[in-house]
Point group: C2
């Protein structure tokens, strides 16, 4: 069942949050049939513990610096870098600086 | 069948192309089981004619300015704006300025 947060055809701002980063929470920008896009906000030192999702994902760092641990190694992502992770790949994320990232998830029925 | 252009776990640069835009061609950054990500490069005045794909897509303008026609109206996207389009939504793209965009496609088996 589609739970759109933004409808098909409405532009969504995904610019860096800048001065608003510290007051912004992680949220789903939309979730539909095949895709979910989340804007992840992590303040310096905060982390997401290792987890996995059933579909493939991309993590695009929008601002700041994050470290994604997957495939038993760490991957430093700065603004403008994108990481692709296979389905069911266990991954954890830690922010090395206040950071936001776009996470796109291929949904599995 | 997965045809990875970049493996799971390798960061991919998706920064603005800047001075390299005019000499860069559209290319798939990777194509896997569930997701394909393309960096679309369109010079001012160039366009993609109306077409559709079987899965949902997002179009994220990285630099410049593009107009996406879908749902019988036009959607102006500047850098940092993302448009979600439903599966099989007919859409065309024209560049109003030299532009690049990340296109993420949910693949259908």
């Amino acid at each position: 069942m589609a739970i759109p947060h933004a409808g098909s055809g409405e532009p969504i701002n995904v610019q860096p949050l800048g001065a608003h980063l510290q007051s912004t929470k992680t949220k789903a920008l939309f979730k539909s049939e095949d895709l979910e896009v989340i804007r992840l906000v992590l303040l310096a030192g905060k982390s997401l513990p290792p987890h996995k999702v059933p579909g493939e994902i991309t993590i695009q760092c929008v601002e700041g610096k994050i470290d994604v641990t997957a495939h038993d190694k760490s991957h430093l992502l700065v603004a403008g870098q994108l990481l692709f992770l296979a389905a069911n790949e266990v991954h954890g994320v830690i922010a090395l600086e206040d950071a936001s990232a776009l996470v796109t998830i291929a949904l599995k029925k």
